[in-house]
Assembly symmetry: C2
Homo-oligomer: 250 residues x 2
């Protein structure tokens, strides 16, 4: 595990929190929080912005999203346990937004893990959304910031998951190429390690994961491949007044 | 990450829980819990048994250990934040027990992380103590068991740590060589991954870890080297009626 951490005179920290319940242990002094739910909430959010939506309102409960079903200008999206909730047309599949004309629309979204992580971290100075879809754009923006950064994995029902941690490691690797950023936490080193092992074959992550069986059962393979394909978008969703909007950049 | 999980028709699970606070999420159906605190509580426990102690009573609070200071037949050990607690002669250093005549003695011990993990999991059908010191003996015994096994990392103040996770991965690798055991959790795969990356150089784990600085400051390097040296003992401490004793084996 040598050569992982070169920087000792860094100005800011970039750290990884593996599960939402540990957020309070890692949140101190972290001005920027990146919420990560690779399969599939944050991938779907980036895909939706890429395909034209104006804003996404993340909500915790299905019942907060339900009134928006069929309302003009709105898309109501609800996922629990990997399935679209009954009565809803959209869940957390990013492919549902591809090829749709979403210009000017607002999505009201609740998911098992991702939107809960957003609610948890909404007090951060800046909360942004990360996924393989916007990996390079996000990393480049983060490199320009003068603040500590926490990469918050949404996990699966508060358990550690591989895909979020590997993505966090991918961001970590890019940030640690700058002397500006360094790490203090063992979780951050572990995430970078997992990324280094997995980067040749992202889909291999899931082949190793027992959850693959569940995913195959749900016939999600096209979704999974889409979610693991980097750099399909340059959009960085950011939370403003409780709503995710497209970050305006020069 | 291919080739990590070969077994699909296993009879029992072996899983890894990275931090004590997540124990309730992983504990269900787990008959055997292995408590791991490589630096240094569970290493010290194995070392103490190897050097002759009769039993170790793990306690949560310093004040439960204090009455045993100086009492005939007892050793009172207390560590907080890596330091021996004031008034105590012993903390969690395994080297404190090497070369001592401890035959017939009882240790009453409290540490920052390890003894708390024991308290948490004491309801398990069987609770045993793991460290690199007894890696092979422990793994061989586990292989003989017909039960699900949870490897419970003590972490550092409930944060993920590398050395406990790498050790869990080492045990995992040995158990997965048998068709008897398989995994369901992503954390278990990640632990095995970390072990595969670190096994050529255990001390390298700590070279990568920022906490190395703290360890060097405390001048613990001889302790750390000792704790990362596998198979110095064949003792498996097991919890019986709230006390750790040497497991009797044929």
């Amino acid at each position: 595990m040598e050569g992982l951490v070169r920087n000792t005179n860094y100005r800011h920290r970039v750290e990884v929190c593996f599960v939402p319940s540990q957020y309070p242990l890692y949140a101190q002094d972290m001005g920027i929080v990146v919420v990560i739910d690779v399969l599939r909430a944050t991938s779907a959010m980036v895909a939706a912005f890429e395909h034209g939506v104006d804003r996404i309102i993340p909500v915790s409960d299905v019942e907060q999203a339900r009134p928006f079903i069929g309302r003009e200008g709105y898309i109501a999206a609800a996922e629990r346990d990997g399935q679209v909730v009954e009565g809803f047309q959209y869940g957390n599949s990013p492919l549902a937004y591809v090829g749709e004309d979403l210009r000017g629309k607002t999505i009201v979204m609740t998911t098992t893990n991702g939107t809960k992580a957003i609610q948890l971290a909404k007090g951060a100075r800046q909360l942004v959304i990360g996924s393989f879809l916007n990996l390079t754009a996000l990393s480049e923006w983060l490199l320009e910031q003068d603040d500590n950064i926490l990469l918050l994995c949404s996990g699966w029902k508060d358990k550690f998951n591989l895909e979020d941690s590997v993505f966090a490691g991918a961001v970590m690797e890019r940030l640690l190429e700058s002397d500006k950023f360094g790490v203090e936490e063992d979780s951050s080193i572990a995430a970078k390690y997992m990324y280094m092992a997995a980067r040749e074959n992202y889909l291999g992550i899931l082949k190793a994961a027992p959850r693959r069986r569940r995913i195959e059962q749900l016939q999600l393979l096209p979704d999974v491949k889409y979610c693991l394909t980097p750099d399909q978008s340059t959009v960085i969703p950011i939370l403003r007044n409780g709503e995710l909007v497209r970050m305006e950049r020069p």
